[in-house]
Amino acid sequence: MIGNFAYAGIWVLVAIGFVVITFFFARLIRPQRPNPTKSRNYECGEFPLSDSHLQYNVKYYLFALIFVIFDVEVVFLFPWAAVFRALGLFAFIEMLVFLAILIFGLIYAWKKKALQWV
């Protein structure tokens, strides 16, 4: 068990090291001649309309909230997935009830056009 996490830890170190080493060598060998055009934000080749740190529409926050709800739902799916083969039909129906209740929320969000892109 702890061994599996040790593997994960090694991969975390490899991932961090990969980024650090790549950036280090890139800085070492690349030429550095910045000019205003080069360091401008890239907006698909067009002239950028604004700073990249513009204020986003507050409606996007709703997507984040809905995402968080279903993220919490997924947390409960994991322990269920680990045992549902052993517990059989009963656990399956329990999870169906759990999901059905949340599907109502999804339908409500849909009907209220909360899922519509703005």
């Binding site: 322990p79 680990a82 045992v83 209740i101």
Partner: protein
């Protein structure tokens, strides 16, 4: 080995938490918060609490920081700007923090913490799943109703129609 891992993780958590409160750009603070949460997940993992570690990554790293970053992005004057952190009342704040610190030191030193001899190294997910599906069925289903209420409440508050 275990102790070394703990000290490394604790250092990661403390340093990133310090950056969260000291960085001038609030977006960078939010990014350092992700590192801090990952460190806490590592602590859970090193204590064999595998489910808790996964939940920490899913909920805190995945969801809570998303909410914070969205909040920064939709808030005018916050995103990408360097803001001075206001400290108008340093003396009362310092006094309160020192007394709180002393309180923590006293209460922590007076509490006898039981040391667990050995922690079971088997995965905890099956046990949690079995408990949720058998003895705690009702709380489990109530969770989905709570989530439903949260979802509907968020939509009702966010959309004023």
């Amino acid at each position: 080995m275990g102790l070394a891992v703990f000290y490394i993780l604790a250092a990661v958590i403390l340093v990133s938490a310090l950056f969260v409160v000291t960085l001038r750009n609030i977006f960078h603070s939010a990014l350092m918060l992700i590192v801090c949460f990952f460190g806490v997940a590592g602590l859970y993992a090193s204590l064999n609490a595998d489910f808790l570690a996964a939940v920490q990554v899913l909920i805190y790293v995945g969801a809570v920081t998303i909410l914070i970053i969205f909040a920064v992005m939709v808030t005018h004057q916050l995103s990408g700007k360097k803001i001075r952190q206001y400290n108008d009342q340093p003396v009362p704040a310092g006094l309160i923090i020192i007394s709180l610190f002393l309180l923590f030191v006293v209460s922590l030193s007076k509490t006898g913490f039981e040391v667990v001899k050995s922690i079971s190294s088997s995965p905890t997910v099956e046990g949690i799943g079995k408990a949720l599906m058998t003895s705690y069925v009702l709380p489990f289903e109530v969770v989905s109703i709570v989530l439903l209420v949260a979802l509907i409440g968020a939509i009702v508050i966010a959309r004023k129609d």
